[in-house]
Symmetry: C2
Amino acid sequence: MHASDLAVPFPAVEPSTPAAQAAQLLANQRLPGLIVVDEFGSPLGVLPGTRLVALALPQYVIEDPALAGVVDESAADASVRLLGGRTVQDCLRAGQGELPVVRLDATVLEIAALMARTGSPLVAVTDDADHYVGAVLVGALLDLAVSG
Amino acid sequence: MHASDLAVPFPAVEPSTPAAQAAQLLANQRLPGLIVVDEFGSPLGVLPGTRLVALALPQYVIEDPALAGVVDESAADASVRLLGGRTVQDCLRAGQGELPVVRLDATVLEIAALMARTGSPLVAVTDDADHYVGAVLVGALLDLAVSG
């Protein structure tokens, strides 16, 4: 069994995609994250929903747990609406480590080890030309694990 | 707006729950993770699906990317079925850092900052007696962020 057997169509966005649009995709379809591809269709990484949430917050609020509790409530509600004008590019971290990307012929074990190392619940799958063709979700691997 | 407005019923497991049963819950319901509670109903942490995948793999396979690629394919398929006999307890890491847990009166900003810090796509919500009552999903926060 290979990535080609497990991959499913999965939405991808580009660095220029507005962060609000990415948030809408994630929220409406209850996705664990989005695949980010460049202009040629090659995967650049996976964008988890929590990173979009982080983008919507001032850094000092993230870093100081006590502070979030004392900010005025209406200001708190407003703070999570700061995504306007930002793009997916703003969520991509430079040097985010190993990319959760495999080729179509990757084995189940390779995909599982990659998920375990990166902690990413989805792995992008590419063809021989490095074009994104779909994703393997952690649920598919867990299905295999329990169907044995 | 507070955790009490955003929390939804969400499955919880105990440390003694078989890992295979947790995997089945995650896979069947396509959940981003499970809440783990102790015998008194107090949250112990969040169990992401990727940690169950990691549990199903020998440690040396996770650590050596090259190795996963050269393991015999039938052995590779078999390796992800190693969950039998393991429990959720085996997936819980000691000292896993800040717990993604808030009280019912936590503000949106507190929940968002906690998600940003921990990277957890779900946060357990407890009542005054520290009993688990539901979870806030990252999608609910993103809904808020885009509905502003």
